[in-house]
Symmetry: C2
Subunit: 380 residues, 2 copies
């Protein structure tokens, strides 16, 4: 066993692993992060919406509450991170509009608005004309929608760079090694075996390996699966219609699409397919994204396509993340964030930091306790 003297090994340098590592190092722990390719997975491909309200879905009220808790933490999180990293965290506070085209799409948005009103979170309904006053690039097919100024966005790539910088400044060690599995003695964690055969000793291990988490300890088997998402990055060209200021989400004949502005790019996403560990960008995926995005913002026809990519979201059985203790003593997990890794990073990192101090997690995080998937001991 190679002695690393780490008190905490974090498996995975995506947005969740990096956020948790930074927070843990802030409270004095010696932290090592293992990732063969930091910040290169789903977090790198992400759209970066911080959008609990426009992600809300009847029946997923616990996820909405968790998201609202986390988006509320985002401005302070971003400010602290910017200060700690010495570089921008990438938060954008221009808000979100949701656009609908056909009558079916408008009825769907009506149902979401009514649902949110019942939950005490009313959103503003707007006509097509009112929406175009906010975002003049919206096309003539947009007949109505919502304004949700509190649904924010983050430039995921700025964020990842800032998290890594802040972690390094706080003493986090990064090792470009893959993890093959968590090692335990049957009762408690003793370390991690790397894909190169080396072993890393530590009393506590945090699995934050996104869609790959289920491979790393038997307690996670079956709890996380890859959900592929394809995404495009467009760049404004001279003479083309300006980018939207806000995040634009839309329903186009029932298909969701979003367009998230950056300083210099417009991110268009995202397909959602379950085809295992496949990150191929398909013709059909790009065709769908371009078709639907152009119907919402026709001016993008003159934009440049600068990148197409696919990432693997970590899906869980109930669409809620897994944040907490699971399996042997010393094993922590923070994964299964599905479409919401960027959004939930602040509250997840605060929850993991609390667990490392032996304190309870913030209230709304309770629903993410992985214990919900552990079968109760049979009654005798």
């Amino acid at each position: 066993m190679r002695e690393q003297n780490a008190e905490l090994l974090v498996l995975g340098a995506g947005v969740i692993g990096l956020s948790c590592a930074w927070r843990a190092a802030q409270q004095g722990l010696r932290v090592t992060v293992l990732d063969p390719a930091p910040a290169s997975g789903a977090s790198w491909v992400a759209g970066g919406m911080l959008a609990p309200v426009t992600e809300a879905w009847p029946g997923e009220e616990e996820l909405l509450a968790l998201g609202v808790e986390s988006v509320g933490r985002w401005p302070a999180f971003a400010a602290e991170l910017t200060e700690a990293a010495g570089r921008p965290a990438g938060l954008r506070t221009d808000g979100t509009v949701v656009a609908a085209t056909g009558s079916g799409d408008r009825a769907e948005l009506d149902a979401v608005a009514a649902h949110l009103a019942r939950l005490g979170r009313p959103v503003e309904r707007l006509t097509g004309r009112e929406l175009r006053r906010l975002e003049p690039g919206l096309g003539p097919e947009v007949r109505g929608g919502l304004s949700v100024p509190d649904d924010l966005a983050v430039d995921n790539r700025l964020l990842l760079a800032a998290l890594r910088a802040a972690g390094e400044r706080a003493g986090v060690v990064f090792a470009a090694t893959g993890a093959a599995g968590v090692l335990d003695d049957g009762a408690r964690v003793v370390g991690v075996r790397g894909t190169d055969g080396t072993e890393w000793a530590a009393p506590t291990v945090l699995v934050a390996a996104g869609a790959h988490s289920a491979e790393l300890h038997p307690a996670l088997h079956g709890l996380v699966r890859p959900v592929k998402g394809e995404i495009l990055r467009l760049a404004l060209r001279p003479g083309a219609f300006p980018m939207p200021r806000r995040t634009v989400r839309a329903l186009v004949d029932g298909r969701p699409v979003y367009l998230v502005p950056r300083a210099d790019e417009l991110v268009v996403g995202a397909t959602q397919t379950e085809v295992g560990f496949d990150t191929t960008v398909t013709v059909g995926g790009i065709r769908d994204l371009l078709r639907d995005a152009e119907r919402i913002l026709p001016g993008i026809a003159e934009y440049a396509l600068v990148e197409s990519a696919a990432g693997l979201r970590p899906g869980s059985p109930d669409n809620l993340p897994l944040i907490g203790r699971l399996g042997p003593e010393g094993l922590l997990v923070a994964t299964g964030h599905h479409r919401n890794g960027m959004l939930l990073a602040p509250v997840t990192a605060d929850a993991v930091a609390a667990l490392l101090r032996g304190e309870p997690v913030p209230g709304p995080v309770g629903v993410a306790d992985p214990a919900r998937f552990v079968p109760a001991a049979p009654r005798r």
Copy 2:
């Protein structure tokens, strides 16, 4: 003046420059090719169709004759090149089918077929069913078309690598320098000034710089312009419908599209726009290519998009290339090949080799004499 002892300076290492350099070196000339980025322009992006018949257009009979002459030279050219380079030239001899969808597209193909018959080059008309017997991937919208087995294709990237290798074996020197302009003393060529300020001496200069040719000598001003083309490269994925064997060309609601199979890729092209020296790949261009290609070969929806790129074809005022002497003594040009650089490479290289020996060019190349653009001296 830097003394290079070159007898021939070739400006441009695309398919035309490389072919001419190889042929010139074969007949004993000391040849230097100048290009800051060899094989990276329109030739790198090209679809690689060797298709004079399916490119035929009423009113362009001279171009058809030139193309037929060159495609006839292709098999021997490819065999000789493969031998000389010690690597494959990339020729594919599976032929071409042309597919039409709507009645307007079928009428257009009827007109092309009648035109070719009048020229004594009959092509085989096929029903949709007969076409699908040849290429089972053709979609249900394909209602009829043509079979043109003598229209071939070449893997442009294999070809470029083979041409460079054959050139090097024949003694061609490659200099990674851009050319700023041809130098002459008013009566004859003395060399070339590089973009880095160095000067190269030579008694003969061949301008083969594609869309950039017009910048290199005043005699070429206004004779070559960039015609942008966007193209996609798709890759077959496990479980997807197999690639076509033949080149598939099609008219979809009047828009031409082609799909050219390689060993491991399917090339889909090409848009055609005149927007100056711009090689941005646009959302609108990709949307058009994918939409039209999928209507012809629906199975490509499951293919991977592995590359999107744009190249600048060298357009001429009359769609015929410029091959021959122009301006001061010692200046040769081989440019303006527009969509037909790959096709016309063998006959162009043979013509330039003949000119370097002081012999006449092959008959059909006469129409490409740049002298057609030189105003006759005013009568006194």
